[in-house]
Symmetry: D3
């Protein structure tokens, strides 16, 4: 079912800033894809502010339009897509409860057959989302990030934003050998996360290997690893270089350009992406909205991928 | 009829940024007061950007809550208030047509018995709003601003943002002797506006007179001049000092503090305010959201005034 | 015992940024006054970032020098003053544990006879500090702020930054009738905090009363209420107008100027201030270091007050 | 005739900010190349501010010096070059009249045998410039941009900044098959512009093709297409990635780096460039002058190209 | 002789940014008043950047127009006023030589009977200006500043920006008992400057005395002290509160508002001001051009004063 | 001897900001490597502010951790490394004296067998550092920069920041044919520096040659040129593109990315680097700390190189 895109014809500085100016609804039953905000940053280890991410990504996403320049098709032509608002939080100071609330919200979406595309929030939110999305069977994971996020804990918390994929792997939500971690870089105080990922069979593509492997090579690795499995795509904005994403909590120099990120994402066409998120956009550290624009654009491109995946499913 | 304020209980960085987090509706029939955005800055003579004002004021207005600390009452308890979105514009490059479109939109609101509270946009929008609000009879005008905005034209345009109250006066929409212009300052290239206002019988309170008159004195002048007439309140954010409102197109140093502005507005309690606007918030020139926060707060205080005016009417 | 101020003669952009460029030591036994950082903002309800406050206040406090222009004396001539670093936190995601850790740190200082002057952090830190400072007997409280911070809870947390003085009052750490709350303003969603403060006998000076009372009047109220009791002074930077303190989490327009704040603080000379804090400086929202400069200057003035209090004690 | 470059020896923060610190004159008769500002942004569809472009580019262009590091020659040695100020505008609210005024100004330059190098302003100004520059015969067009700018109209205006090259093509000012559009990307709401360009025979180099074609390949395409025809070079700063040009109205992620842009421009040496512009620098959205520095540098490189073209002509 | 003000009618974002958009000339013989830039900050003790002051003040001064709102007269109607550019510097790393170069430049102006109005630069430039302006006889000094600038030396330099008025007093260029220092505040590391000023008979108005004295009181003190002597007016932008002037090297909280500064300056009408400067505007630390706008406005008001002084002389 | 890295385990926003959170000591006798700040920018020719570099780099360097992701080793495991503070300056207005003071400080370090890693400061500081480091024998120089810095003088100064390597070469501190200058670009007013470098046998790698040579090619040139000679590595942050280093005094578009810079530095493993600096970080022109983060990361990588060099020496 197509989406009503009338609002997208208006001047882009007008109107209510829903994601992509898609319709806003809290009645998600009829949707193919729900765009969701998770305004939570209680899991950060350094600079907070990602709680403001969903609102700012919504704001800037008015820059997005319908037709993808590479495919000349619109995700809205074939899928019913809406902004379903933010996950309601009632205990934002309690990471464990918040994790449960997020998981519960997504479980309802998934149970209704709706695929979620999320704007975070810090990376800790991917764990509860995976609890919903991979509730029935483990999924493959394509993970774009400067950090493995498979550390065990920090300051006593196992839910913090450097740990979600360790938790997810421990819970059997993601398959180690079907997981790729792309863009890893930056110094570390202990090798724990790197070691865990490797021990779990995850494929780590360090940033200093990228020049040799190339974007096409990364795409090939992803496609071969994941095949036609259901795959969850998690895009940490700090996978981009800090110049393309200054507004984030844990920047590491030497990352991807947005041009590379677009090539990478477009290389994933046809994969069965059943859910995705764009996380760690922290507007208080941004300048000129560079980061939220990158985040919104990545969301749009992923939306196109998810739409194509759904079309592929129909066949 | 009270307003649903449930969304105002949520953390302020979550949810859709309607004005004050009031309900959003395009069906304004049942409303007492409609909050409207006019995302138009085609009338500026210097620095543009006020087209982004409604969206940023909406964003920051999530900081506003229900109970006014001076009255300990909530505007939402007695009035049905909503955000009705932005005036749809179809010819944003054509000032004359846009003026007509704005006037037409407000005429529908006024005809439905709804009082409008507007976030601009540049000051040129007050003229078409007045064409709707004062369609049946001329109104009094309380005009807070650094500039008289009674100039004749600039660069050949009679609709530009330095002229709305000359046009309104020429059209008989506002009564000269029932008009107060408060906060006027800054050098001028010709005395035309100052002269017109004075010739029209408008009371100009220059900023350099404020120390002597005092805020209470200004309030008294307003109350005595306006009495119980229907009054339109127009609040140009550049009436504030540039320090309190850097994000505006034509700043003039030596203006009001927000504390004085709050005292001034609170002094107007009980006046029959039938419509109001807050204009000239230009986010691209703002820093730390200082200006949009001032704008949002002034809107909230005016909303309280308008609610009380309506309650007074009922009696 | 005087303090070594040699480092304060160097160009202000050089050297390690301790508070005021005072000596740094973790051996606080011999000190009269310890300057402490509490880099914690887990209690904020809206915009985070105060965790970065201590570091930025330290940085900007290099602008401070020795001689106070109103007394022409230096706090360092009579007291042994040092920067003792930040409270070590081991469980930053757990508000209850963090509260205990902060209290434990300050208990050691207090037990050693050292008076603490703190840079926060969000306002939730004042409660554990009071648990140390008022452990033996309840203290008077002079509380400069836009908010009463006597709300009960938010999102299920009783430790959040709107609640510290309710907790402190419930625990008998502060005496209601010896508490003044100065600068209160801004709308609220429920009147709970205002009501609690009033019921507890606290003197609330709302901002809209300040024009009438005057700074001298506020000083008089403080002096008469507090007398020669031990008093804790808590200075929330959002008591200042947002123009003077844009870098804070919950700005409310219409606050104090720094000039008024200086007059106010200087009016407190001779009070027996046994501890103090400057909180809610959130650098990510600041611009041009305006807020951290205000914070650093207030700390310096309070340091002068605390030094004089100690000298008074000696007599 | 060489240019007086004495002012370029002074410290770069001193003196009047003419373009490149070249002489300022309104008497352009004796010039080879005139640098012109068009401070007009009445044609933007989204974020305004390019009206401030000429002034800020002038300001930052003091960073430019005489000798090009690749050729070790100076454009000022062989050509008489000056800043002739901004196009005087008398009807800035009226796009049609403004278009005529711009065209009239450039017609005088062209009639005097002076080649214009322009700093905009939004892209709508290229159409009236082409009306002057291509008045006698159609020209080839090398168009660097994220957008084709061959859309038909928006909000009822045929002069807006997404349409100049459609108008120019309709008027026979540019030859479709001699036009290259380089860097095109970003989603669109309708395919109209893409389709028009293709139907007109223009060569579109989409950004997602650039990795394959390479900068050298683009240069080859330009040289082969254009040959020794008179060519107009239009450089929309949003052809650069938003990271290199955040200060623009319609940023699209995934664009060129300045390094690529320099290689591209330097590849055009020897082409018969009879006029050029750098447009869409919008300082209110810039940070750290990144965009105006890029704009100024591109102008300098184009100035070198135009000088060489003139020398080539002489032979 | 009146000044050509034609350029001041144009849109304010266009044209070359001379001071106030006054004519630019290096032939100052026929002038009554010359506006001069001194782009030098080699004398700062802390944060540099005032070298960029003249250019940014010029840029923002386009906001200034002709008619003063308090007098409704224009300085340009009665005086020949121009921007004569920046003082050429040939040895910017050598403070002593630079001091001589500045003095030499102003001597030529003074010898030609031209009164200088200067935009700095740091405060060290006032000393060489005084060497020219007071060459024949000592002058009175009205000095608006947070600091006395009568310190002896710092880091071995007697020319640094905290010392100009000590040097000027030592040289007999200013009369101690005819000198007023207004707005002094902030802590100091040694009392040297305060002490020198007092010993020299200078009247120091500390900021903490201003509430009692009032602006009118300060004006009275100035008028009584100075009488009809020739007076030099030096306006350090850091006399303003950092909120009104964040872009400066040595901010001290608790300063004047621009409104007070305007009242103060307007109170000086009729004094025989033979020269003046506005110094210490440091654009790299500014935000939203707040400081340069304040600087430009103060320059405009002082220009009005200087014009009236000249008219008074004629009588 | 390993370094105490305990402080590096704490949350990164806490604690005193020493370089990398390494221990702070002024007793450098036992050190292998000393990290030093030189807060001096008296040599800049354009935009000042690098005096604030050491403090801001220290601040941001808390982001650095121990283990290098490419080697999985920590520099702190094998070397005794500390922050020894800033070079004390007593005559900051006198370039010649300051040069001597810097040289004297480093001489003491070198005489104690400590290798220095410096954060500047402008590039003029490299000359006095080389006077210490190369006192006994000339060294090879790997120089990453947009400018050759072999100009003779500017405004009469031979110590300014465009001249250090001319002075060093004239003094026989560096060997011309063992010097590489990498990343040179930007226009120049005279070819003096380029010519001197070439005449001295220095290898200049212009930026426009980099696409052809490649990073690996540059690394090869360095290794072949330098061999196992003692080499000094000087990293001017403006060698990076302005997008990666906006906070610098003399930006030139078209520079290196940080990713290339990391590859380049990592290619130098094993060279006998006896000293290094990172200069020209000017925080007042930075945004979002992009430049200081790049600077801190480069320092960390160079620290790893220096540690490996020392280990190599031991063998």
């Amino acid at each position: 079912m197509p989406t009503d895109t009338k609002a997208m014809m208006d001047p882009r500085f007008t109107g209510m800033p829903t994601f992509m100016r898609a319709p806003y609804t809290t009645d998600y039953k009829a949707l193919d894809i729900a765009m969701v905000g998770v305004a939570y940053d209680g899991g950060v280890s350094n600079r907070p502010g990602a709680r403001h991410g969903p609102r700012e990504i919504r704001n800037v996403s008015s820059m997005m339009r319908t037709l993808n320049p590479t495919t000349r098709t619109s995700p809205y032509d074939t899928c019913n897509i809406a902004d379903v608002g933010d996950v309601p939080l009632t205990a934002m100071y309690d990471h464990a409860k918040t994790t449960d609330e997020i998981a519960a919200f997504y479980t309802k979406l998934v149970d209704a057959g709706v695929r979620p595309l999320t704007a975070g929030g810090d990376h800790s939110i991917s764990y509860p989302i995976l609890r919903a999305v991979a509730a029935k069977e483990p999924v493959a994971l394509i993970h774009f990030d400067a950090h493995c996020d498979t550390w065990d804990e920090f300051q006593g918390s196992k839910f913090m934003h450097g740990a979600p994929f360790r938790r997810a792997h421990e819970d059997g939500l993601i398959m180690g050998e079907k997981t790729l971690q792309i863009g890893i870089r930056g110094s570390q105080i202990i090798p724990d996360g790197w070691d865990y990922s490797e021990a779990a069979g995850m494929k780590i593509i360090f940033m200093h290997q990228v020049e040799d492997i190339g974007i096409d090579g990364i795409v090939d690795m992803c496609r071969q690893t994941v095949g036609d499995m259901p795959v969850y795509l998690t895009f940490d904005i700090d996978g981009l270089d800090p110049v393309y994403a200054p507004g984030t909590g844990t920047p590491e120099v030497g990352g991807f350009t947005t041009r590379e990120a677009l090539s990478f994402l477009r290389g994933l066409r046809g994969l069965n992406i059943i859910g995705a998120d764009v996380v760690e956009v922290a507007p208080p550290f941004d300048s000129s909205n560079i980061t939220s624009l990158a985040g919104a654009t990545m969301m749009y491109e992923i939306l196109c991928l998810m739409t194509e995946a759904l079309k592929g499913q129909e066949k």
